[in-house]
Amino acid sequence: MAEEFEPKIVAFLCKWCSSAGSDLAGVSRMEYPPNVVPITVMCSGSVSPLYIFSAFKRGADGVLVSGCHPGDCHYIKGNFYARRRIALVKKLLDYIGLEPQRFQMSWVSAAEGKKYTQIIKDFVQELKPLGPQTKLRSNS
């Protein structure tokens, strides 16, 4: 029997909330799928759409952008900018025909280790039936 497809997720986590949230999940020994590659960024507002397209190009099966809850941003309003920009990226990716499930955004605070594990679990479950992302992946 063929091995089950294990999706690879690139997660852009903001330093102040979501990274700390994933840390909390780690130190609390909560179990969650090992499919995620976390990348700490200073703010969800600093995630350029180029990072996202680039991640898909370099073979990510799913991309997650996660930041502080609205109003909790360390830089006061970075996540509001992110919300606008990510909404546009999501619409654009859907428009060109990429499965909308492959690109997600979430709010995870430093105390929500549990929520973080749940988001990753759900994400992996959603990606498995879709199979590998080949549309935007570079062949070289």
Partner: protein
Amino acid sequence: MVNLEDLKNEAHKLLKEGTVKYIIGYERGTNGLLPIPAFIKNPEDVERLIWDPTCVFNLTRFLVDEKRRKASEKEPDERPVGVIVKGCDSRALVVLLQEKFINRDDVYILGVSCEEAGVLDEKKLAKTLKGKKAKNIEFTKNDNFVVMTEDGKTEISAKEILAERCLECKANFPVIYDILLGEKVKRKSDKPFGSLEKFESLSKEERWTFWKEQLDKCIRCYACRSVCPMCYCDECVADTINFAVTADTTAEEKAQKIKWAEKSPVTSENFVYHLVRAIHLAGRCIDCGECERVCPLDIPLRLLNKKLEKEAKELFDYEVGFDPDQPSLVSSFKDEDPEDFIR
């Protein structure tokens, strides 16, 4: 109707009084009816100026070049540059002013209204005329164009030869100007995003097939980027050539210079380039249709930009190119922006 004599007189006056450095307009080229951009410095040369539905170009692009040229001059001429703008071009100018790329004092705007017509699509015209050369084109009141060819006059419905964007135009008169020629009348357009409808009704896989087929054609000539008045970055993320690797380049410099997209025209790289261009033009593209016109492989680039214009309108109630004091789409937010997609 825009009276061409009025336009020439105004231009003559401006040049004679020395109010402007020079005037960017349209003149008849050597390839049939198609005009070329004209840079008029002497008052006597205003006779070369033309204005009719064949004037498709967006001349605001030259203001971007002018800014660069001025920056490199030792003793720049501080007088403004006169530029002839249509409705769509004036909106491009609004965005450039909004982004503080150019100053209002550096440009003297001669607005011309398209009134109830618009500009022609050369490809559509060539198709309709079946190889015949048009000698003269005039717009008549009953929404028709009278085209003179070697075989005589033919009347063609405006819908058949007008550029797609003109059929969806939000305002075919200049929204910002120093002098306005023609009347501020709007062409009736019931579907501002009509060209998207057919496409949006396709399924996800059909859309993917469509875009893969279209963007695979791209040869990365960057004509779309060169012609776009909004693509004024000194260094584009799509370029890696700006980074010259010499013997003195340190490993650190190499490591810090990220290659976002390779230059090779393959699917994945083309998608990165076109997607990022579309996102960079979100809330900035004023739909002048130049990228699509200059594309040597006829990629329907307008469909990408138009989609984001539509989303900006629907999600954020943002309309581009009417107010130079409005904050730009991605550098502003509202508390009630949609977040139903966020977990």
